[in-house]
Symmetry: C2
Subunit: 236 residues, 2 copies
DNA sequence: CAAATCTATTTGTCCTACAAATAGAAAAGC
DNA sequence: GCTTTTCTATTTGTAGGACAAATAGATTTG
């Protein structure tokens, strides 16, 4: 499968080299790469070829270029993310309902599994982060604060599952769902209805009960779907 | 979130435009794009900018360029795939065990869920495809034939789940696992041990029993993990 | 009819020259 | 002294030209 490529295109080689530097850790998120001119000279390629490689790395989410500043290594969570643009395109071209249904289905699969994994693998700090988010939800006095804490809670759970692949996948799915219909922009009254259920998730993860955590998250997710159904269609 | 971008870089605009043409369906997989020179003229941009856009589309998996032939629209299944390269890089840089564990965990989450979804949503043809793959497994006289049919079986199940997002995710995870340790390169004897379990999956999907399908696939996946554990480490 | 050769087309690479943006320094204004 | 404005140097963005490398398809040769 890889034996039939005698010599890779230069820009691909450059993608590989820079990619290794970035993913491998000799550059860390936030670091600035040398200028295109310097990099081109170091790697002994033309600026054109180098730029093509940089654009590819940008598309992969590894770096971000800005005029005058240069190219910067992006945060890890952007790295192997599904392409939001492609999701958008699909949204524009695919029957809306079917696509949103895919997203919802994925979310319903990932979250309970993540809760179960979190119950097994979470460490003290990760549990605390979930607890903090839960407290923020409990203290929320308006919908915005609630929504923010809610996002925080769920990503804390994902984080506690200690599986970056899962986290980044969830991140994309959740973001897409979020942008399609404003998840929490419904019922102004009783926005805290799911607080007890969130507590169950937290408590199960605290007790390291994978089964309970999965079940609690499952209920949460089921409720959420019911609400999504009610709020109906999506916004472009 | 999108309001602070007064004018997009040209190459990004081109990515958008061509992307829409491809994803939107005015071009279908297999179609040949016009030459770079022509496209550049049509879109009124320089060939440099166009090429950067083309490389990005290539990196996203939408097209594939070859000298003399031109750029061709790739099959859908490549479109919103996670980047296998990044997985490779991570594999090279991350403690092997932890990363493979992530992959295995993802697989164990996706497959049972997919089996359940397939039981609910499969159509006649999709069931037949699973059945055919099962038959091929039953008829397999050597390990290679078995391995091939096995892959076929699992992707048929994923396909029957009717969730492209899920399929493509699984595809990447399975491919990565496959390349890390040769899944079926172990025990030469009794390579068909899991045939009855595969039948259970097929049968549950046939009967449209989501619960049974999930459980059967879960057992399959558990067995598989046990075998992976036995066969130990990974190959670079 | 088959094999070798040629040719025209297309992508790959390199180069030069500016344009556009902007971080940071310098100058101006209060 | 402090803020605001202006300038400047650096970096990416875009354009366009030139040629190299690959190769599908036509042409020639055996």
């Amino acid at each position: 499968m890889t034996a039939n490529e005698p010599q890779l295109n230069i820009h691909r080689q450059v993608v590989d080299q820079l990619g290794k530097m970035i993913v491998g850790g000799s550059l860390v998120p936030g670091d600035l790469l040398s200028s295109e001119e310097q990099l081109a000279e170091q790697l002994a390629v033309s600026r054109s070829a180098l730029r093509e490689a940089m654009k590819v790395l940008g598309a992969k989410g590894l770096i971000e270029s800005r005029q005058k500043t240069g190219a910067r290594v992006r945060e890890r969570r952007f790295w192997h993310q599904l392409d939001a643009k492609v999701l958008e395109w699909r949204f524009a071209t695919m029957p809306t309902k079917a696509f949103v249904a895919e997203l919802i289905e994925m979310r319903e699969i990932i979250e309970p599994a993540a809760a179960a994994a979190a119950a097994k693998k979470r460490d003290r700090d990760q549990l605390e982060a979930i607890g903090t988010a839960y407290q923020a939800m409990a203290d929320a006095s308006d919908r915005d604060a609630w929504a923010k804490a809610d996002v925080e809670f769920h990503s804390a759970v994902l984080n506690a599952a200690n599986n970056e692949l899962m986290s980044s996948l969830f991140n994309v799915v959740a973001t897409a769902l979020h942008s399609f219909f404003q998840l929490s922009a419904r019922a102004a009254v009783d926005f805290k209805y799911s607080l007890p259920q969130h507590f169950n998730v937290y408590d199960a993860i605290r007790k390291r009960s994978a089964l309970q955590a999965r079940a609690a998250m499952q209920r949460l997710v089921d409720d959420s779907r019911r609400h999504l159904r009610q709020s109906g269609g999506a916004a472009a």
